[in-house]
Amino acid sequence: MKPIVVVGSGASAVHFTLSALQKGRDVLMLDVGHARPDPVMPGGTFAELKDRLADPVRYFLGDNFEAVLFPTTKAEYYGFPPSKTYVFSGVPQFHWRATGFAPLFSFAQGGLAEAWTGGVYPLNEAELAAFPFSYAELSPYYDLIAKRIGISGAVDDLARFMPVHQHLMPPLNLDEHSQVLLRRYERRRESVNRLGCYMGRSRVATISRDENGRKACEYSGRCLWGCPSQSLYTPAITLEACRQFPGFRYTSGVYVRYFKVDRGGRVRAVVTEALSNGAIEEVPVDTLVLGAGTFASCRIFLESVFRATGELVTLDGLMDNQQILMPFVNLEMLRRRYDPATYQYHQVGLGLEAGAADQYVHGQITTLKTALIHPIVQRVPFDLKTSLAIFRNVHAALGIVNINLHDRRRPTNTVVLEPGSTATEPRLLIHYQVDTEEAERARRAMNRIKRVLWELNCVVPPGMTHVRPIGASVHYSGLLPMSEKQVPRTTSKFGQSHDFENLFFVDGTTFPFLPAKNLTFTLMANAARVADCIF
């Protein structure tokens, strides 16, 4: 049997691949695959990086000081550290233009989840109602993925929104601020619940005990800068697991341009371009699986259709979660010292009931500890010396709620290919128009969360809540949705294209609805499900 050809090495692709390999199939993975640099000072803590590195400025701010946020930049409260720049490095062949959308792309080994914050939340029956399979069909794969990647968390009030899967490890140690928040929630539970809000421990893909050769979180405080010990899961870990199989071949440094089809409408080859020398190669295909991320997978599809038929297809239904960042100050934490030797990403989650169960609003609370302070200090309306005098006694009290809203497929949100010429590369054109009701949904969610925070003894500084541009959540999905009807530009419940029978999509391309929860856990589970059910 010929190997399955998989494009991409992100969260979806690697879990599809591992499942296929475990079933005895051979897999050829084609990937651009920018490699992660070796971790700097692997055994060191965050504090030791600042004290012992020869050039900590270069480490924290970058060779070109790209991590410095200046007053003129309309940037977010936090950016990606220089050590994760490789995750977002592009390729010369990939061109795009977007209106109403601010996309991020990754061609790294492991994909975008190499820079994720590890939130893993299974969808429930209501959220899967638009999908052509049930929670019962997906549940075993949540269990499988939890066993593979290691998830820590608790069974608490958030379980009303999130099914409890198997292999949940004990939760990580809480930092002081997160402890204070949850203690206050315990005391004010009734008032908070009356607002339709429930809180609990985040479920995170960070292991709290040694597992499968990976060490448990050592609380080095380096999470934001890249976990040096692989305690925080990233898909590159599963890529490494795939490499242990003799039937797995990983080819990096290649850009998949398009696939060719035979007269019967079956994919017969992919055309690749070597990044090193531009050499073009045709790789024969019996089964092609696209797991390169929604935009990259769809670009391959669109260019292939154009080359095969001359048709410029418009795909619609693009989705992404609207995200809102709401900073707050916890009055109980003023004048305390933060401890950098703690887990840095979100440890507290919240959920808002919002009408229909599939309109749930999801929140993750990150308490500020080792993130760079200059982006925040410069926003305080005093000279820097005064701002610092105030800030240092407020730092440990700072937190941020990352609020996610759901999205639905709408015909106004499209992707189409602008074909290239002999002189120019093809370009992906992305258009997104915000739903007219989105602003009202966001306003209601923000108001409720402000009231929740007030119950928790936290205040939201006026004017600092930030609605992120659409595209910032990087939960792209929906362009070739699963459908029980065999119509063009859709797939089966197993991601099998209704246009080309030996073509499969295992990433977010096929999702018919985007709930408010972080998508990655479900992407991984779905990809494993496809491999298990079809191959």
Binding site: K50, F65, T72, L334, H374, F391, R392
Partner: protein, 153 residues
């Protein structure tokens, strides 16, 4: 750092700003990082400075007290100014190093009423500083606009 007039101005500027922010002289690695950032054009240069930029830098480079005054003016009336960018750059450099990060960012535990009183004093000082800064900077800005003389090298 090199020994050209530009480097000397930057070094002197960095020293003043460092004394302003952390009340310490800037060690060699801070000076080098500050200079490197300017070499890379991260904050722009005196050559592209507006009249207000020149006025602010002229005042700020005089010493830590006037640096604070100029900063107070800039944060109120000229957030995107070259001075603010330089100060934010230096703040970012200082927070990347253990010893200076500790100076910037260590809380002083104590009674809340003391904290509120101290914060109030800081804000009051800011207001007074801002008023005094305006008396200096506004005329200087007019001077630079009229005469259009570059400051520094």
């Amino acid at each position: 750092m090199g020994d050209t007039p530009r480097h000397n101005v930057l070094a002197a500027e960095c020293q003043v700003f460092c004394r302003y922010l952390v009340e310490r002289d800037a060690p060699d690695d801070i000076l080098a990082a500050y200079d490197r950032a300017h070499e890379k054009g991260v904050v722009g240069s005196d050559g592209t400075a507006t009249a207000l930029d020149r006025a602010l830098l002229r005042v700020a480079r005089t010493g830590p007290i006037l640096a604070r005054a100029a900063d107070a003016f800039a944060v109120t009336f000229a957030k995107p100014s070259l001075l603010r960018k330089k100060l934010v750059l230096l703040l970012a450099i200082l927070e990347s190093r253990g010893s200076t990060a500790a100076i910037l960012d260590t809380a002083t535990p104590g009674p809340r009423v003391v904290e509120v009183a101290v914060a109030g004093l800081h804000v009051a000082r800011f207001v007074v500083t801002l008023c005094l800064a305006s008396l200096l900077i506004v005329p200087l800005r007019i001077w630079y606009r009229v005469v259009d003389r570059p400051c520094g090298t």
